[in-house]
Amino acid sequence: MVRLAVSVTPLAPFLASSVRGLASRPRFFRRDWSRRSGDSFDTPIPASRGKDSCLDKLSVIGGEVPAFKGEETKLGARNLRILILLASALLLSAAWVKRDSLGWPSWDSDEKMCSEVDIDLPAPQAVFRDYGGNWSKLEEYKGQVVLVNFRPPGVLPAKSKCPLSFSCRKSTGRKDSR
């Protein structure tokens, strides 16, 4: 997740600006909630609404409908922001699809939840006894690649027994923990 955060961080200003752009929509689309339903366009408009209000302009009966040049510019900027947002989403989606090659952990994996360390030590001289009472040595497996896995069967690992608390919370939450 750290890698994901690092990958997304450079996109943060673009995403933030896009979100801001959507939040501050052009005034053309805003509704003037101060106008009551009974008002007609002949009703004098208080000066506090501003000269550039759309409703103010429309209230001039018989007057010329003002051009929306400013609004067109804002719409263009808005489209650009949406485009950036979509491009960012597309980029993130592509990165998520290729997350294995990028080294991102997969959604349902336990990767990096516990430690995995490269070592170079001789295998100890261990003797094993199975539940049937038969003995065998680790040496007998020489020539094979062996994974020795220590765990109590049927018992989920106790929280206090794992050195990494986060990983233990996750692993103990699963019925068939790996």
Partner: protein, 103 residues
């Protein structure tokens, strides 16, 4: 355990084996029914444990340097050297990659 069963299935014929060490205080009484009857879901199918499981002791665990960290796994190469130590659940892709490199 599903991951271990899957790895054993995939690489067992190529010279890889999993050795399970059951650190259970009750020993064979608990381990035997668990190994023989328990089924795990591996890639959508119910599978029994397909690798040997031995009874562990604290002395044995300490030989590997395991004190109280369970589960712990050790990858041992063909020439008998420990090359990787994993504390916690094993992760198939990374372990699979490591095993392929050793086979």
């Amino acid at each position: 355990m599903p991951t271990l069963i899957q790895l054993q299935e995939e690489y067992g014929a190529k010279g890889f084996t999993v050795i399970g060490i059951a650190m259970d205080d009750e020993g064979a009484e608990t381990v035997k029914p668990f190994v023989e009857t328990r089924r795990f879901e591996v890639q959508g199918a119910k599978r029994a444990m397909n690798y040997p499981v031995y009874l562990g002791t604290q002395d044995m665990a300490e030989k590997f340097g395991v004190k109280e960290e369970y589960p712990s796994s050790f990858l041992i190469s063909r020439d008998g050297r420990q090359v990787k130590r994993i504390v916690g659940p094993v992760y198939h892709p990374s372990l699979s990659k490591a095993i392929k490199g050793l086979l």
